[in-house]
């Protein structure tokens, strides 16, 4: 028999334990991803690192100096055993030294990545927020009107949009709004005619350019939200405590809040998955709308054989997903008292 739990201190400990678990798993993930990067880069046909080293030595550089130069450039030691190279690469990563970018010469990979990250992060978050809100409201509606035509229509729109891949949506939206009815810009972050800074013209242009990417992100995940919310609300509507609240004469507005809060809860687990999906999908959307975020950077680094940048972009996208997961889980913990008290939660 469960007796009254003690939320206070044990709750904090439970949250801390969850967080520690997440961080540990995140570290393992980072280790896995960086190892994959390392193995792939070391096995690229033609071995560009070794080639560069040979070339530098041929040009008359001393082996040590050449080794140094390659290491600065790629974050890799071109010589030594595989194991030594791996340790060296990892040491560099631990110092957040990801090597030098080839596409933007003279700049560290981390700098290049950081400047690209905002162009992915802000649209992805804006799109997610937008679709989360719209999807949840329509999902509640679809659940309440599930017997009617409109509810059916909403559910069908949800499953269709949920099934369509992001690039198809992006291409269709692009074809409509940049080619057929050219009212939105086809690519870039802002018109070059505006001076970057805090002025109306630049900001307006930013918003205009971000519209298509953000709407695509939103539409791509909207279907998932509406479907998940609908089924969640239907489940909660059948719960006893809703009928109990009704029989106690609770106000409709209060009952609605009970339904909404209980129904949203399971969606937070999906939120994490969806964010991960969106960061992956950013590759398509940024490529299509020529938006200079992490995804475009990853593609450019692959086509431009900029392997240090490629490894870095892959790593950063993974880290973003790990962080999104942790954030979603913590949010869940804050909302659900059953998890918070560390009990035998559902």
């Amino acid at each position: 028999m469960t007796l009254i739990g003690v939320p206070g201190r044990s709750g904090v400990i439970a949250v801390a334990r969850r967080l520690a678990g997440h961080l540990a798993r995140g570290l393992v993930m980072i280790l896995v991803v960086t190892t994959i990067s390392f193995l792939i880069i070391r096995n690229i046909p033609g071995d560009p690192m070794a080639a560069k080293y040979e070339k530098l030595v041929e040009q008359g550089m001393s082996p040590e100096a050449a080794q140094q130069a390659v290491n600065v450039l790629y974050g890799f030691m071109p010589t030594g055993s595989m194991w030594e190279q791996y340790l060296d690469y990892m040491k560099g990563l631990a110092r957040l030294d990801l090597g030098q970018s080839l596409t933007v010469p003279g700049t560290g990979v981390s700098t290049v990545l950081m400047s690209a990250a905002k162009w992915t992060l802000i649209p992805v978050l804006a799109g997610t927020l937008l679709s989360f809100l719209v999807g949840i409201i329509l999902g509640v509606y679809a659940a309440i009107k599930r017997q009617g035509k409109l509810g059916d229509l909403l559910a069908i729109s949800g499953s269709l949009l949920h099934g369509v891949p992001q690039y198809v949506l992006a291409l269709l939206l692009g074809a409509i709004f940049t080619t057929l009815i050219p009212i939105l810009p086809a690519g870039g972050t802002a018109d070059i005619m505006f001076e970057p800074g805090f002025n109306a013209g630049y900001i307006g242009s930013l918003v205009q350019h971000a519209t298509l990417p953000v709407v695509t992100y939103a539409l791509a995940s909207y279907g998932g939200w509406i479907l998940a919310m609908k089924s969640s609300v239907v489940t909660v509507l059948g719960d006893d405590f809703i009928l109990a609240a009704e029989l106690r004469g609770m106000k409709r507005s209060i009952i609605f809040r009970y339904i909404a809060r209980n129904a949203i809860l399971p969606l937070f687990t999906i939120l994490a998955l969806s964010l991960g999906l969106l960061f992956g999908g950013a590759i398509f959307i940024e490529r299509i709308f020529n938006y200079p975020g992490l995804g475009l950077m990853l593609i450019d680094s692959i086509t431009g054989r900029d392997y240090a940048l490629m490894g870095g972009a892959f790593l950063l996208i993974t880290v973003a997903i790990i962080i999104a997961n942790i954030a979603a889980d913590l949010l869940y913990t804050v909302i659900d008292p059953r998890v918070r008290s560390g009990g035998e939660a559902a």
Binding site: T2, A244, L247, G249, M250, G343
Partner: protein
């Protein structure tokens, strides 16, 4: 609707109440032509198997039959409130909780899992425009204390931190805290262990007397009724087949179904084979006979007239029986049932797809 502050227990008169459920096969009656009076200040017990319509009857008292069901005929007159069937909208909402308290089955969760009991209590108070919220909390705490719990701690707890028996007591507290004088308890002890069951029954009895309530207890367990109820109504197939003072009905059952129920209870002393279950299964929504007696399929004293004729309602002092064979004396129904099934305590819940789940 004005808040009546009279402290007297209200009487309830249910007349000719029918509830139908809309199904693909048309509207089927779950409860048909029920006449039942709850005498002010008494505890009335309603017993029946799953699908007998007893839960539907309980919900009717708050005009809360859930779709696809609806009250198709009859009235439920509650003193100080009028005919509940005619109420709607905000008037109905205010009547619920304020005038009629409703307590849910124990095992099921009648609390919002995400909020503490105290916060839900405040929601309840706000819903009923209680101005003195601290007073409400105080009242709740003393009720909980009174039921043998640490009130302050319970109010600070979430549902998952409470045991089944504690949740049930919280449910009773929420039904009483607004000072309702008519209380409906739907299966108050189902799924609780024996000791907790006994505690809950004692609390029901005590609170009933202390506060001067009119109480309706819905159960499938004859033992529960024997323990707490002053009056007893037996339901079968959506009908009340027999009612009267508990002692008299249990001591001298007139309806063959009541008799069958009593025979199905295994005794602690004596041969377990003496307990015999009723043959057959209770009818579900779709299989309730439209004409004649609803019990005839399983009845040991079935006659030709049962096929077609509505059983006559015989009144004898406080006792009412609806049976063609009722005046033939008890000997007619004592012959043992032909088939033996599993021995169950009480009536036993045979899984049916009746309106209980709806």
């Amino acid at each position: 609707m004005s808040v009546t502050s009279d402290k007297r227990a209200p009487g309830v008169r249910i007349s000719d109440l029918s509830v139908v459920y809309r199904t693909p096969a048309g509207e089927l009656p779950a409860v048909r032509g029920i006449d039942l009076e709850l005498v002010p200040g008494t505890i009335t017990g309603v017993v029946g198997e799953s699908g007998s319509g007893k839960s539907t009857l309980a919900l009717s008292l708050l005009n809360a039959v859930q779709p696809p069901g609806r009250i198709s005929a009859g009235s439920v007159e509650i003193d100080g409130l009028g005919d509940v069937v005619a109420l709607g909208g905000d008037d109905l909402r205010r009547a619920r909780g304020r005038h009629v308290g409703y307590v849910f089955q124990a095992a099921q969760s009648s609390l919002n899992p995400l909020k503490t009991v105290g916060k839900q209590l405040l929601d309840l108070g706000r819903s009923h425009d209680v101005e003195d919220l601290p007073g409400l909390v105080k009242e709740a705490r003393s009720l909980l204390d009174r039921m043998g719990m640490d009130g302050a701690r319970v109010l600070d707890s979430h549902q998952h931190e409470l045991s089944g028996g504690m949740r049930q007591r919280v449910g009773i507290m929420l039904a009483l805290v607004l000072n309702a004088h008519l209380v409906v308890l739907d299966e108050p002890t189902t799924a609780l262990d024996m000791i907790t069951q006994a505690t809950i029954l004692r609390i029901i009895r005590e609170v009933h007397e202390e506060r001067g309530l009119t109480t309706l207890v819905i159960t499938h367990d004859l033992g529960v009724v024997a323990e707490v109820a002053d009056r007893l109504a037996v339901m079968y197939g959506g009908r009340v087949v027999e009612q009267g003072p508990t002692r008299e009905v249990l001591g001298d059952p007139r309806h063959p179904y009541t008799r069958g129920l009593l025979q199905a209870i295994p005794r602690l002393v004596g041969d377990i084979d003496e307990a015999r279950a009723l043959p057959g299964r209770p009818p579900t929504l779709g299989t309730i006979p439209a004409d004649g007696c609803v019990f005839r399929e399983r009845c040991a004293v079935r006659m030709d007239v049962c096929e077609t004729g509505e059983p006559p309602v015989l009144t004898q002092g406080p006792r009412i029986v609806a049976c063609h064979a009722a005046d033939m004396g008890p000997e007619a129904v004592t012959e043992p049932a032909k088939e033996r099934q599993t021995v169950t305590a009480g009536v036993g819940d045979t899984p049916t797809t009746g309106e209980e789940q709806a």
